[in-house]
Amino acid sequence: MTRNSNKARIHVLPENLANKIAAGEVVERPASVVKELVENAIDAEATKIIIAIEQAGKNLIQVVDNGIGMNSEDIQTAFERHATSKIQSERDLEQIETLGFRGEALPSIASVAQVEVKSRHIKDTMGSVFTLHGGKDAKLKKIAANTGTSISVKNLFFNTPARRQFLRSDNSEYQQILTVLKRFFLAYADIHFELWVNGKEVFKLPECDLGERVEKILGSASFKGMLPLNASLGGIELSGFISRPDVVRKSRGHQFLFLNGRPIISKSLHHAVFQGYSNLIGPGEFPIFCLFLEMDPTLADVNVHPTKMEVRFSNDRSLYYFFINSIQKVLSAEGVVPELYAAPSGSAVQKESSAESRPREIIDEMKNRKRSMARFSGAQLSLTYFDTSEKKENPLQDSIRTEKTTIEPPAVAMEQYKTDVQFWQVHNRYILSEIKSGIVLIDQHVAHERILYEKISKIFNDGQKSFGQKLLFPQKINLNYEDFAILKEIIDVLNKMGFSIKTFSGTTVVIDAMPTDVKVGRESQILLDIIDYYKNEPLRDFNHTEKISAAYACKNAIKSGEKLSQVEMHNLVDQLFACESPFFCPHGRPVIITIDMEELDRKFKRIP
């Protein structure tokens, strides 16, 4: 090529080539074709949509709807670039209420496949069939057809071998299609959907209400762990279902978010949901959710990318916090406990009824217990060296003792809890106790961790004061440079917790006070432990303060393997059930496991 050639070098691309290029954006893979076609069907006000797939869409994708249909002229124009029925003017673009609008999909698809469209407009008597072969050789014939449109896309990418070659395996492409379809299934519970794969019916979803649809899509096992959510804020409505923190998946595959019926992906809102669970779920775990956001379309821009999955919100921040709040509200109202499912899902039906109101019950039961224990056992301050012989001199304790024997406890309910609250320590690691419905097991380390974590949170969030036990001998520690750098990052937060740490010349630090709940005998190691923990533990989605709080809670908590006295166990359990969310530790590990009597009975074959 010569540089000074006189021939004009810049020219408009032929339309067909332009469409092929556009296809690169819109039609990435069979799943995107399915998406575009189903969107069109929905926009055509169909109430029944049947999707047929062959060989994961590589051979055939067919979408049949009973919508308003097209007349013969419409069919032809539909395949021209930027042809659409969905918007008329620029103003419409700001309030898009249909799924498609760019007018790119059909020509793009047609340019890389063999397309046949059969359609009859609702007002016409005759239908038409229109075929295109790689965007060329257009043929139009009049035929008899049902109202609505049937469009089939054959041999996708037949004329772009490179594209075709880069398609994944059938299975993986099929999964992609399924993901796309599930979003529609969920978003349009009022539309009857059918999915046929290689001639076999896979989904048949008659129109129903949202709950039923969600249950069908997620499976009834997961659905049992879902909690309904309804919230609104200044014209924004949020509804749907979120999973209990113990019903989680290892991938994001079960997270669905819809904006005005349109499936969307919004990094910030997904993150908000995650934040709503805060530390109730562990690393690598993802909640299941299916949320519908309804809001004024002018506040959201869906025209960010041709696939229309990404959305920009004009009120991004307030939405973010609205999401977090709504989710936290639902979760805290529920107070969820993980259960020990000893039996396989066969017994799930029975369990459902008893499990529903359980978590709250356990908290209440434990709290009631606390009250009776504190009053009647005199809450002995057992920590160290208490001389038991002196107890008799304490007038209050004496009066308690007499009260206990002579005065009847006021309520019957109290009586039930009061008697014989026993705790057993299992392998110096778990605390075992009896509750009305069975037995409860508590992990002593994570329980204490939770308690400490909440205490610290109160200091930072509710402005509660922290206390530091002053040390008689300020402890001097020489840190290495790395640790010292980390300490510098976290020193302010630590000092707010009740530590009093000062840095000196070099890498020397001096501690002259510690939070009051640092256990006696564990003072000297705790700072180093916190630094190590902070350094090594990947606590994603924790902010700076939370991370330090978690480090402190973990390192200051009773270790597993530590022997606890009865009183210590009582205290621990009391404190635990005074927590806001006693069931999970800051990292999302469960603290409490319950085993039903029913479960035990079944194990012992008392009941079938």
């Binding site: 606390k370 504190a374 005199g378 809450a379 301050l381 920590l383 160290t384 060296y385 208490f386 001389d387 002196e390 001199e393 304490n394 007038p395 209050l396 308690i451 509660q464 004061k465 922290s466 206390f467 530091g468 036990q469 002053k470 040390l471 008689l472 001998f473 000092n495 707010k496 917790m497 009740g498 009093s500 006070a513 009051t516 709940d517 006696v520 005998g521 564990r522 003072e523 000297s524 190691q525 205290n571 009391d574 404190q575 005074a578």
Partner: protein, 371 residues
């Protein structure tokens, strides 16, 4: 080995040493006691490697020898034996035969060579203390020791042997006790040692009420020579913190109060404090003290005011009630003095009048309010 001994003597001797046996150990032999029969005497030795105790009783030895026997098992056996003479024999297979008036019993022992040897305490350094004084000082100090194994020095009691006084100091970094007796004389040497708490516990338990005992101190060990028993203990060799420096010489504010009233008030109020921190607040006002506790989690709250003698500016200080009660309960006098400077510094508690030839001082660190 072959000896005959009265059941009661045996039982008494064994009981003396039995508590030295560790509850948990990786060295199995430590669960055993070593029986040594020699020269009309039965010696029983128990050790946990830190502390070794030897006790003895006279008996009728017809053949000398020694063997290690599981200690707790032996105690259980002897307890059930009739109150008559028992005869012990061993054979070459380390089987022990016990004969009582009712019959014969057999159990297995272990070779005496497997049992750790008793530390050698060769020293010129000897002191002598009155039993009453020693016991008193041990009782006043060991409660304040630390359990933090990472600071070994604080897990023992610091003893300072001076020319005309003997001091014991204990602290865990939150509170401190210093007790000095002047009823002491030792012109030969001065020395500072740290004795493990557990050893002092055994000593206190075995001290007779009357008389005085010899204490031998070598480089690494201390030996208490008590009637019919000897207690050896390893010394803690870590440096003890400079405690004198942290005791303020002059605290300007002084409160005088009746100890029993103060204790019962603090006890009552502390029942309402947070059971993890046991924090109580003392508000010192002219001639009265207000004691307050709150448990935010459970909504408990308590407030008491009692009379005291105080004429400085009002002051609020918070303490861990457990530490405070521990200290108060270990003071003997009816009236006590409480000396403070500000809400951040150490509080000093002393008896209103010191006992004769004795000085005792207790110190407690406050809980600081972070704002």
């Amino acid at each position: 080995m072959n000896f005959t001994i009265s059941r009661n003597d045996f039982y008494r001797v064994l009981q003396k040493v039995i508590n030295v046996i560790p509850n948990k150990s990786t060295v199995d032999i430590l669960y055993s006691v070593l029986l040594i029969a020699e020269e009309d005497q039965l010696k029983i030795i128990a050790t946990d490697l830190e502390i070794t105790q030897i006790a003895w009783a006279s008996c009728n030895v017809s053949e000398q020898g020694s063997i290690a026997v599981p200690g707790k098992l032996l105690l259980d056996i002897i307890r059930e034996m009739p109150e008559n003479d028992l005869t012990f024999k061993i054979d070459s297979n380390l089987k022990i035969y016990i004969e009582s008036t009712f019959g014969e019993y057999k159990l297995s022992g272990q070779n005496k060579n497997e049992f750790p040897s008793v530390p050698l305490v060769e020293t010129e350094h000897k002191i002598e203390l009155k039993n009453t004084v020693l016991k008193h000082m041990i009782e006043k100090t060991i409660f304040a020791c630390s359990t933090d194994n990472l600071r070994p020095a604080l897990t023992g009691v610091f003893c300072q042997i001076m020319e005309d006084e003997y001091r014991m100091v204990a602290t865990d970094g939150h509170r401190l006790v210093k007790i000095i007796t002047h009823d002491f004389e030792n012109k030969e040497f001065t020395e500072n040692i740290i004795i493990p708490t557990k050893a002092l516990n055994f000593v206190a338990r075995n001290l007779p009420a009357e008389g005085s005992q010899k204490i031998l101190i070598s480089e690494n060990h201390i030996l208490f020579e008590l009637p019919n028993t000897k207690i050896y203990s390893r010394l803690i060799k870590d440096p003890y913190p400079d405690y004198e420096r942290v005791i303020p010489a002059q605290n300007s504010k002084q409160m005088e109060i009746n100890k029993e009233q103060f204790i019962s008030s603090v006890k009552r109020v502390s029942l309402f404090s947070n059971p993890m921190t046991y924090q109580v607040k003392l508000s010192l006002k002219p001639n009265e003290i207000n004691i307050y506790a709150q448990d935010i989690d459970f909504g408990g709250e308590a407030n008491e005011t009692i009379a005291c003698k105080f004429d400085s500016d009002p002051l609020d200080i918070a303490y861990n009630a457990n530490y405070l009660l521990d200290i108060l309960r270990h003071l003997d006098s009816e009236e006590i003095k409480f000396l403070v400077e500000d809400e951040d510094g150490p509080g000093i508690i002393v008896p209103f009048e010191q006992e004769e030839k004795e000085e005792i001082l207790m110190l407690i660190m406050p809980v600081r309010l972070n704002s």
